[in-house]
């Protein structure tokens, strides 16, 4: 470790000590504690906004993005140190954002300079909340089968169709959306466009899930005008952007298999006493969970060095989400009847069963586990069609 990095670590530690509010060093109690920002933000605690604003002003919500786009301009080694220091104090994520984890990397790669300057800084500061318009009622796992049309109308497109499973569409400000600009070519007829959810002709309808929440929506487009300047990459080349972005989405979702910072609740539950069979199941799960933690570190290091296989995010997504489902199944078993209470204050309004139910979607959203296995088999193992 060089002196420069040691200095950076010391300064980072001091800044975080001074600026991360105590409330933001406590584990989240439920989905409502997450910070999403946006035009109409909601905060369960005022420190959420404080923490997001302080980190955003420093560019540390997106530490490795260039400074001119609102990032921190940190090197991979500095970014790693920042992550380690955040973990050290059990700091909460200052900003949850599909803009950061999905759209941002795609814009950095495929966006025009104008698009980058317009959108990236607002993403970094949590000013605009994004949602993703990918899945359709007849295009889920077969994503490229999408039908939402974008008809050429001179300097703009007219978009018609329906999306589904649009996470938080009812609370999002803008959408990044896959649309069909050519009906004669399946993957080669898709374009990637950005538009304001306040545009005329956009409507959303929440979908109530088994967890009792409605994070997902059906989203309808009725003659929505989208300027062509909002298209990312060339017309009919949207599938390249979509695939690149999916890699980042899978990378993000794969983190779910990791234990929570500041004490693994499953281990906490096991300490209270469980039967020997469950104890053994938890211990063997813990082996996989810790090994996957090493895998995540390796994957990030390889990504940063450009060494990761391009299809490796599929493996991370597959393993992480299956692991997360197992974790919550074991937590329910360890919790016993305490983990069944749905509405009580003592149960944080059913945080445990709702989280357990929520994880069941992990291996469906962002490409099902079966799709990920297909990708590994074809693109990494090179198995025949």
């Amino acid at each position: 470790m060089t002196d420069d990095l040691e200095t950076f670590r010391a300064e980072t530690r001091a800044w975080l000590e001074a600026n991360c509010p105590a409330e933001m060093r406590k584990p989240m109690r439920g989905e409502k504690d997450a910070t999403w920002g946006g035009r109409n933000p909601t905060y369960a605690h005022p420190d959420q906004k404080l923490w997001m604003d302080r980190m955003g002003a420093r560019g540390w919500t997106v530490p490795d993005w260039p400074k001119e786009y609102g990032g921190g301009g940190l090197s991979p080694a500095e970014t790693k140190i920042l992550r380690e220091e955040l973990k050290r104090i059990n700091a909460r994520n200052p900003l949850n954002s599909f803009g950061i984890s999905m759209l941002g990397p795609a814009l950095l790669k495929y966006g025009t300079e104008e698009q980058k300057l317009e959108h990236l800084p607002k993403i970094a500061r949590g000013e605009i909340r994004w949602c993703q318009g990918y899945s359709e009622p007849n295009a889920g796992s077969d994503l490229a089968g999408l039908a939402t049309s974008a008809d050429d109308a001179g300097d703009h497109y007219i978009v018609n169709g329906q999306k589904v499973w649009t996470s938080y569409a009812d609370q999002a400000d803008w959408i990044f959306c896959l649309v069909r600009t050519d009906k004669t070519s399946k993957q080669g007829g898709i374009s990637f466009v950005l538009f304001d959810m306040a545009s005329e002709g956009v409507s959303t309808k929440p979908i109530l899930l088994i967890s009792g929440y409605s994070p997902f929506c059906e989203t309808f487009f009725d003659n929505v005008k989208v300027p062509k300047a909002n298209r990312v990459h060339d017309e009919n080349k949207g599938w390249d952007v979509a695939k690149y972005l999916l890699g980042h989405e899978r990378e993000m979702i794969s983190g779910m298999g990791l234990g929570a910072a500041g004490g693994d609740p499953l281990i906490e539950a096991a300490r209270k006493g469980v039967d020997p069979i469950l104890r053994a199941q938890i211990a063997l799960f813990d082996v996989r969970s810790r090994a996957f933690s090493a895998m995540s570190e390796r994957f990030i290091d390889e990504l940063k060095a450009g060494r990761a296989h391009p299809a490796q995010p599929s493996m991370m997504k597959y393993y992480g989400t299956e692991l997360n489902k197992t974790r919550h199944e074991l937590m329910m078993a360890a919790g016993g009847s305490d983990a069944l209470e749905w509405e009580s204050d003592a149960s944080s309004h059913g945080a445990a069963p709702r989280a357990w139910l929520r994880t069941k979607a992990n291996s469906i959203e962002g490409g099902t586990s079966e799709i990920q296995l297909n990708i590994i088999a074809k693109r990494i193992l090179d198995l025949p069609s």
Binding site: R290, E370, L373, N374, I376, A377, L381, L383, P384
Partner: protein, 368 residues
């Protein structure tokens, strides 16, 4: 330190891969087995390891070794595992060297190890399960000690020049470096399921000098835990090689075997299982590298080592089971190599504690 091999480590891996594949492929192990070889490995091959400097991989440069770390040792062991090469590398160049490093024993034993003449064996287990219980006794006698007791599952124990022996002394455990040939010592080699040899050792009043003590009397836990951490990490790397070798063979088989007029690798049922196996092996690989890097950095690596040993046990067991299954009937034949992988994996998975042992250790450390 990034969690992948540096360019230098990757070069070492390539060198080791070529060397082991050329000089000790699976057919080498098969030939030793078919000849019912009484040594259990090739002394010529051990010499060649020495000529390449590999036997001194963990020996400090000041002692004329390569002065490398557990990551590098693991790189070599993975290739040994991939080729099922019978070798005293793990017990001698990794575990024993780690126990002796920095002690008065280095000057005596390292030259022989560097020359490829000395083989070390680890007399640490006394039961069918590796559990850390030491019942063998070492009592003070004259200027030294008298050893009484038995050890089992000692790889190379019947041919080793040097035995690293854990024995109970007055106040605790003491680790001894015992030269072969002592009166009262006997070794009964047994052929194991994988055709390797492991010995039952008996010590009936074996006399050793006081200077046989590694470190201090009653303070054997320190060198023993160094030996175990190195041995467990090394065994994990070797298991990774066994599992990786089996997985590679299997995926290649899926690409060439036809049934129903098509390559069986086109069947989604098999593709998904192969992809799942790939995932488990990748996760295991990360766990092994993490443990080795932590050991090399001098940080507390105990839990990471347990994770590595347990995870490679789980992943490699899956690799060999899927390997035999996907090969179908031919996988059950002695003529085909995949079965050897299954047998070697079982032996290595048991050595230094199996997945259950290490999962349990993690649970105890976490307080549940």
């Amino acid at each position: 330190m990034p969690l992948y091999l540096t360019d230098e480590q990757a070069m070492l891996r390539d060198t080791a891969r070529d060397f082991v594949a050329e000089h000790a492929p699976v057919s080498h192990m098969r030939a030793l087995r078919d000849a019912n070889d009484a040594t259990g490995f090739s002394r010529d091959l051990w010499k060649q390891f020495a000529e390449m400097g590999l036997t001194g991989i963990l020996i400090p440069e000041a002692d004329n070794g390569l002065g490398l770390g557990h990551v590098e040792a693991g790189v070599v062991l993975e290739e040994i595992g991939r080729n099922l090469s019978p070798s005293p590398f793990l017990s001698t160049a990794v575990a024993a060297v780690e126990a002796l490093k920095g002690t008065a024993h280095a000057a005596r034993w390292f030259p022989g190890i560097l020359a490829g003449e000395t083989v070390a064996a680890l007399a640490i287990d006394e039961h069918a399960k590796h559990d850390g219980r030491v019942e063998m006794r070492a009592e003070r006698s004259g200027n030294g000690f008298k050893l009484n007791g038995a050890k089992r599952f000692v790889a190379h124990g019947h041919v080793a020049n040097l035995l690293i022996v854990a024995a109970r002394t007055g106040e605790g455990t003491t680790l001894f470096a015992v030269p072969n040939g002592a009166k009262g010592f006997s070794a009964a080699p047994e052929r194991l399921a994988d055709a390797s040899l492991a010995a039952h050792l008996r010590f009936d009043g074996v006399e050793v000098d006081a200077d046989a003590v590694i470190g201090d009397v009653d303070a054997g836990d320190a060198p023993l835990s160094r030996l175990l951490a190195a041995g467990r990490t090394g065994a994990s790397a070797e298991l990774l090689g066994v599992g990786g070798g089996a997985a590679d063979m299997t995926v290649n088989y899926l690409k060439e075997r036809k049934q129903f007029g098509v390559l069986i690798g086109s069947f989604q049922a098999l593709q998904h299982r192969a992809a799942h196996l790939y995932s488990e092996m990748e996760v295991a690989r990360a766990a092994v590298l993490k443990a080795a890097q932590l050991l090399d950095s001098g940080q507390d690596a105990g839990e990471a080592v347990s994770v590595a040993k347990a995870m490679t046990g789980l992943a490699t067991t899956l690799a060999v089971q899927e390997g035999v299954q996907m090969h179908g009937g031919i996988g059950m034949t002695d003529e085909y190599d995949i079965g050897f992988y299954m047998k070697r994996a079982r032996v290595l998975a048991e050595m230094f504690g199996d997945s259950n042992f290490h999962a349990n250790a993690l649970a105890e450390a976490a307080g549940y």
